[in-house]
């Protein structure tokens, strides 16, 4: 009767092998290594600062990041004064004041990052009908996360001969369906890094992916360090509980 079970197992394995790789998924995204990989991995603050520069100078011209406040940027190692200056570059609507009027004022630390457009319709109208998505959670909202973001940034290629790209669209190997409204952004020396890092297109793509991962998971550093302490505590506790269990049960046998 053992054979009955092994036969069923073999059939199940066969079934799994035959059904592997479903057809309608997006293109495969290669796995990259990041500073925050693994149990001990943490964000590289210098990389986050570079990524933020890219976001501020390039991405934020079209994309919002409504869930992140200026005060959160202290986590990137920027000084409060520097962030205040960055915030004050943008204006927000406030009010009503004592006279009952709405007024504009420079953004403060407590404000969320000011979006480039007042509403979705304005964003669409300025972008050929396409809505640039909010980037706050992009690294968690796409399969592959930061790997996908990097692959998308670097995925602009000339379309194959049999593919016609629609008007206003761009061919991208990482984007599901391969046609994306966002034009290619990455190029060497798109920005100038203050820390002397050479701004190659690939470097910029890595840095923006790292920054967007931070925007989506700002708790990661704290989570991983608390996790390590928790795990050490639990392993010691469980080992002691096991020893106690052995001792209590010893008199039974």
């Amino acid at each position: 009767m053992r054979s009955l079970l092994s036969l069923a197992l073999a059939a199940a394995v066969g079934v799994f092998a035959a059904g592997a790789a479903p057809a309608s998924e997006g293109p495969a995204i290669p796995k990259r290594t990041w500073s925050w990989d693994g149990v001990f991995g943490q964000y590289d603050v210098k990389q986050l600062q570079r990524g933020f520069l890219v976001f501020k100078d390039v991405c934020s011209n079209c994309h919002a990041m409504k869930l992140v406040a200026y005060r959160n940027l202290t986590a990137l190692g920027l000084s409060e004064d520097a962030i205040k200056k960055i915030a004050a570059e943008k204006e927000v609507m406030d009010g009503p004041n004592d006279a009952g009027d709405m007024f504009k004022r420079p953004a403060r630390l407590s404000d969320r990052i000011v979006p480039p457009f007042p509403n979705d319709n304005a964003a669409r109208s300025a972008n050929n009908g396409a809505l640039p998505p909010d980037l706050s959670l992009m690294a968690k909202a796409r399969k592959g996360g930061p790997d996908y973001i990097h692959a998308l940034m670097m995925g602009y290629k000339d379309p194959p001969k049999d593919v016609t790209v629609a008007d206003g669209m761009n061919y991208n190997t990482a984007f599901p369906g391969n046609q994306i409204a966002m034009p290619p952004q990455m190029q060497d020396d798109l920005v100038t890094y203050a820390d002397g890092t050479k701004a190659t297109a690939d470097q910029i793509a890595q840095d923006i992916a790292a920054f967007l991962n931070w925007a989506a998971e700002p708790e990661l550093n704290e989570r991983k360090s608390l996790g390590l302490k928790t795990m050490i505590f639990l392993v010691v506790l469980t080992a002691m509980l096991y020893a106690l269990k052995r001792k209590i049960w010893a008199d039974l046998h």
Binding site: M1, R2, L4, L5, A8, L9, A12, V15, F16, A18, G19, P22, A23, S24, V39, L67, N72, S136, L137, K140, A141, R142, K143, G145, P176, A216, P218, E219, R223, K224, L226, G227, L228, T230, M231, L234, V235, L237, T238, L241, Y242, L244, K245, I248, W249, L252
Partner: protein, 408 residues
Amino acid sequence: MSSAPAPVWNNKLIKWVDDRLPIFTLMHGSAVAYPTPKNLNYWWNFGSLALFVLVVMLMTGIFLAMSYTPHVDHAFNSVERIMRDVNYGWLLRYLHMNGGSMFFIVVYIHLFRNLYYGSYKAPREILWWIGVIILLAMMATAFMGYVLPWGQMSFWGATVITNLFSAVPVVGDYIVSWLWGGFSIDNPTLNRFFSLHYLLPFVIFGLAVVHLWALHTSKSNNPLGVEIKTPADSIPFHPYYTIKDFYGVGVFLIFYMFFVFYAPNFFGEPDNYIPANPLVTPPHIVPEWYFLPFYAILRAIPDKLGGVVAMFGAIIVLFFLPWLDTSKVRSAKFRPIYKQFFWIFLIDCIVLGWVGANPPEGHFVLIGQISTAYYFFHFLILMPVLGFLEPTRPVPASISQPVLKEKA
């Protein structure tokens, strides 16, 4: 609840309370002296683990509800506020989110342990029924909880599942509007789901108490499947099983915390980090992993009503299991043929889950239909027939008998 003699309380205060409300006597009878089979293996840890997870879910849920806003315009952002601005809010939410998956892992193992050792058989039928009702209540709670973050998968998962009720003849559409509280999934739906998601765990807690009551009446089954016959067969619950359960909780916490701290979104769908949008349908709508086998059964039947009936039937059939299993022998240890079909059935459930995770096209359709048919074949034909035909191995006279033999 227990057959152990009532304890004598020496402490005056305890005696004063116990004479008026015998809470200490109750605790002594059901958690200290409670006679437990001496031969339980580690598969018997999963009952107490389920209670542990339930308490974790209640505690984290109560604190999450303090910062959550059940409104279509604010729900998604209020969850993100918990993640970003509430002190240790990310920890609370990841504990709760992964706790849901942990609850189903623990309960499914608990359920399959039942199937292996025949724990549902007389005199534990009602104990088993309450367990199945708890599973149904857990499914309802988990489904409604998944809607609360109001992401894309929340919205579209709710759309698919509530639309199932439109398959009911004649009144189907009325039932769906009634469930929604309107003509589409909108704010009233989210509000009532939040209310019920908060209520049902307390119902589950009450059911768990009744589950324990029934358990302590018939006592635990055990790997041999023979009842406790002499005092030598059992040991007091404390300290033997209290320490064993604590050790189990320790091992379980290591597994649970690994996901919470290092892979918090492992069980989730990336699409649920996109705010709900009624105008954009995600390419694949998939339920949470613990519903996938049932989702596969739903889609295996080409007819909508038939699929819904089959899906609910897959759980309802469990209520009849004590009578569908005609074998005189309880434990699979002494049922050489059933033991193998048990593992085949487990593989069938995993295949169903895998089919449920994939789009219903190509060979997935056929595999889904075959494994659905096998699911019902196992319960409706195999179990009754096997009980009559199977040559079982000799069952020991008592729990302590085989133990003594091993010693000799």
